[in-house]
Chain length 250, copies 2
Amino acid sequence: MKLLLIGATGSPYFEHCRREMLDFLRSSKTVGLLSAANPFDEQAYFVAMKEHLTRNGLSTAKELIHICWNSNWRPSLNKIDALVVPGGNTFVLLKRLYQSGLIEALRYKIREGLPYIGSSAGANVTGPNILTTNDWNVAGVSHFEALALVPFNINPHYVERSASDAPNSETRSQRIREYHQFWNNPVVGIEETAVLSVVGATAPIVSKGRVKLFTKDGRQRSFGSGEELVWDDWTSSFEGSFEGEKEIVP
Amino acid sequence: MKLLLIGATGSPYFEHCRREMLDFLRSSKTVGLLSAANPFDEQAYFVAMKEHLTRNGLSTAKELIHICWNSNWRPSLNKIDALVVPGGNTFVLLKRLYQSGLIEALRYKIREGLPYIGSSAGANVTGPNILTTNDWNVAGVSHFEALALVPFNINPHYVERSASDAPNSETRSQRIREYHQFWNNPVVGIEETAVLSVVGATAPIVSKGRVKLFTKDGRQRSFGSGEELVWDDWTSSFEGSFEGEKEIVP
């Protein structure tokens, strides 16, 4: 399994992680782009994204094709040798993965080796559930289990409290503490410019941006460039600080 | 129906809206406090809140009693002549309102005239649904319909984009635009220091803080001290700019 998890899609798209992305896609010829997180005009989004990626160094030898959740996506999915899922609304994305049947197909394909790049919402859905997204559940989704490719939940666009936030609203770490009142699995906050390169059960940070690991016991640990998150599997400890559980129970 | 809707509980509790709160509770003798939005230690929270409110001017002639969602709340609810519901996690609050049966009891009591003060999560639940909260759904709640005492959804702790937010995450107005891709009712952003005094279908802003009305057609309008939101009823227009619908459809 080979994932590139990115804290934000960024503007211009993927500019902040251009090198990591091109490196990750080095041996891919046909790259799929799933736009299902976009609650507005997916076709226009794909066109703009394709233009940006091509201009910003995606080899012209590569084909970028649109994976549309609401049309016949199977032939396209079978054609690609890497998949990119950018941000948008995580609840909208998850709803469409279930509606289309893509949830099972993606889980299978990615576990079998399809390289996957997910930014923001696209990173969120690789965790066990999406309940640590910053997005609002505008689609009224009532199921939250996601791809469960990694044993930790993700909070993208991670920031510490900043002076000009609404001063009396919760910080990310307070929200994560609330999450751990109900759930056992760790949460990884990914700063906007941070990129995690997951291979199996190891995830080196391949960017200047940092990530922060929060475990149920209240501990926090930051990881920067050159460091790596390491876990054994679902049932074993996470960097020694997390007593993992296979079942996620509310 | 008489509601006081406040953008934040604040620190110290209710200090920023002390005068409006005391004024609202002027003729109440027995005030209930429902702590169900607090995902941690509700008893400790009640004790701290009671101490603050008493020190900050809540008359000693008034009795402040704890309404506990997970014990026999009916006798307490029948005793009070005003209810305060402070912030915390909106999903946790709504889950407990359903679990306990308080959702129906509160809807009835408040419609019959029980004065209600709601801040943050406590304000959110007075709308048709809670899908415009800033909170995370840490409790994995799958039903979102709330008290529907007012025809608009609420976004508390409202702020415009600030320079030190994570620069590539959505602004509140972008999130509200996403909401309006799926839902028809208006959304009211309430700044932390803003207080809306709802009487029937009129809500004057009784604070320095401002509120902002967002309608499905994309229009936004700010209201400050001395101005008021006015709507006729569920089926009629909202300040002329909103074509209301009785049914909220996803």
